[in-house]
Symmetry: C2
Subunit: 407 residues, 2 copies
């Protein structure tokens, strides 16, 4: 039993799990970046320029004209049936075994992670994650007090040998195969096959998170893990990056043995996802809107990606390491030896540029030299300026190091 | 470790808590009531006739015209600042210590219950509840594997002696003081004082849930528990019954020692509540809309309450027991000896009327003779008809009992 510190007379006691729940580093950093004059590469936000405002306005009006009572009333915990059918059709086309009666609509895919943790994790359970991994997944699973096992990764994603070496009874492995947050990497087709084979042999099911898969610039990413191992993969999708995150709409394709418990967990968590939001999104997308809309996002983000790639090449000092991502929203940069991205952040903010230190994305053994840079919120010109400032901060730091470092 | 039953080859394992998570009885019953020809008194839904569709339509259009980028973008986990300020002002006017920086916007107050469970309950922790209590609260707390302690109640609510007898270390007591779901009872002012005094002596903080408080017919209910013991009461409110539940908007007034952990828990659960929904609701209510709107709901519900009171008096057999509620949405009826509300339900549905058996609302020792009847979804004429059918089913059942029952 943990007693709160704020007052010795307080009647409130916190659950043990609270000791492991800490403020998001990113959240604290984002506050810094709101200072005037700071060009932020720190956000994980899609560009608001991509939001289909006019279609949303029309859809909202239409929904409140045609079905006001239904849109404003309590609704099924499973989600709006036509939206579930739509997701089912999309997922089936992607090769996933995804009947509508195993689709669950969630408040963004973040809620899916929360429900998964509830339904699959006991205190002390092992969860495998990538190195590094999405910080929000660590936060979603943590309240269930699991033990994280960080699977070694290379630039193509998790190493199959690392999966083979997972402890017996590992509850699942969480994987973000397309343009991963934070690294931007995409897992190639042959590595996907190897991951699935290793996971099957180890008896470790997969949780596949795919918020960025549609944001490819050159070619579509390989088929999802769920299409390679349907009964052993729980798949999460989201409308946040292809429509708008402010509606908080995501979905999960639930393996049969989990569906009823995930549904009960959803019902206990908040009864259901907002009826109005679900109907607006369905109204917007039902007639093929995304097929025209998503290419416009790709085009915009591709130009921003190119601007950042050029700027990094121009302004970052030798010894810095990165790969231009082929989709998504992020560059992942490893600074030269002697740099600590967290320690450098205050200097960067002073110089008018912000980023997220990479250390927050590791379940263990953080690499202090890494940082995540978003390329989708600033214009190409501002990206160039921000990266130049960043390069100057890093170069100044390197110049200040004693030359004996390399000795 | 619990293995799923569906397949011996399944790689999925369920957390232990899943063994305690069961389908909602009400949910299953509601499916029955959707059969054609069934007049349902079973729902917990507000009347869709009360939804302010036109103001919602105007607000949605206004929000997407004035602040489309903000309404569709990721937002703060705490909630929309002006909405938090509005709640703070309302709660302060109700006598609660509720600065805006301790208001958390949630996906309906159901999500507040989920977050409370996460932050305050370990496996085996004791939670005190009323007898009977809101089923959704039992469901929200259950995933944390607590032990429920049902505090004895009379028609004025929880008995202070029952609170005094709670085990040391009881994490909190959950109380719904105004027009409780399911009983419809309101706790009088002097009982509120006695509850607070007993809770303070026992060191048991209170979670006060108030979804129905504005739906009074004759006079406003007494001041909230939170106004009597601010530092020891966590207060939950909702827009579901005064505006519309389909937007999923509720709020909590968090005691200081809990705020940061509840916020982190909210962030981990789904990042934030929908920006668009929050802005629509704020746009609707900001200029005093509720002061004109809520009285129209009261008037409607009062007439329906009167219709049900008259019908029960006319059609229920002697030995039935109920009190007409002075607000809210529900009658709570106790049938004569020899009746089991769950066993009678199929006959009732056959006769064209549905209700919720009361047994589902007890943490332990259910009273099989109880049932919950909603009076807000049917017209007065349909209420009269439904209650007549119900009365006939009960009378027929009583007539079928062997007359030796009383021997």
């Amino acid at each position: 039993m943990t007693t709160t510190n704020d007052s010795t007379n307080s009647p409130w006691h916190l659950a043990q799990r609270c000791a492991r729940m800490n403020p998001s580093v990113i959240r604290e950093i984002l506050k810094l970046t709101e200072l005037p004059g700071v060009r932020s590469l720190a956000g994980g936000l899609p560009s608001a320029d991509t939001f289909p405002v006019e279609p949303m306005r029309e859809a909202a009006a239409r929904v409140l004209t045609d079905t006001p009572r239904e849109a404003l009333q309590y609704a099924a915990s499973e989600g709006f049936a036509p939206l579930r059918e739509w997701v089912s059709a999309q997922m089936t086309a992607a090769g996933i075994d995804a009947p509508a009666d195993r689709i669950l609509i969630t408040n963004g895919s973040q809620q899916g992670l929360d429900l998964i943790g509830k339904v699959m994790l006991d205190a002390g359970s092992t969860v495998a994650v990538e190195t590094p991994t999405y910080l929000g997944a660590l936060q979603a699973f943590t309240p269930n007090e699991p033990r994280f096992e960080a699977v070694p990764c290379d630039q193509d994603g998790p190493l199959p040998d690392g999966i083979a070496a997972l402890p017996v009874g590992t509850r699942f492995m969480y994987v973000l195969p397309n343009f991963q947050n934070p690294t931007g990497r995409v897992i190639p087709a042959d590595r996907r096959d190897a991951i699935v084979a290793a996971a099957q042999r180890a008896g470790v099911p997969l949780v596949e998170d795919n918020p960025y898969g549609d944001l490819w610039f050159d070619q579509a990413p390989p088929k999802p893990l769920a299409s390679r191992w349907s009964e052993g993969t729980l798949y999460l999708g989201s409308f946040s990056k292809v429509l708008a995150p402010g509606l908080r709409l995501g979905y999960m394709v639930c393996p049969k043995p989990l569906y009823s418990k995930l549904l009960q967990s959803k019902q206990a968590a908040d009864l259901h996802t907002g009826s109005f939001s679900q109907r607006i999104v369905y109204q917007v997308i039902r007639d093929g809107f995304l097929a025209q809309h998503i290419p416009t996002i790709r085009e915009r983000y591709r130009a921003q990606r190119d601007a950042m790639a050029a700027a990094l090449k121009t302004h970052l000092p030798a010894g810095s390491d990165w790969q231009a991502p082929s989709g998504g929203m992020f560059f992942w940069v490893r600074l030269p030896e002697g740099c600590d991205a967290m320690a450098l952040l205050p200097k960067a903010v002073e110089a008018g540029v912000a980023y997220v230190p990479g250390a927050a994305f590791y379940a263990d053994h953080p690499d202090a030299r890494t940082m995540r840079l978003s390329f989708v919120t600033l214009s190409p010109a501002d990206i160039a300026d921000a990266v130049q400032r960043l390069g100057n901060v890093i170069k100044a730091h390197l110049a200040s190091l004693p030359s004996t470092v390399a000795a």
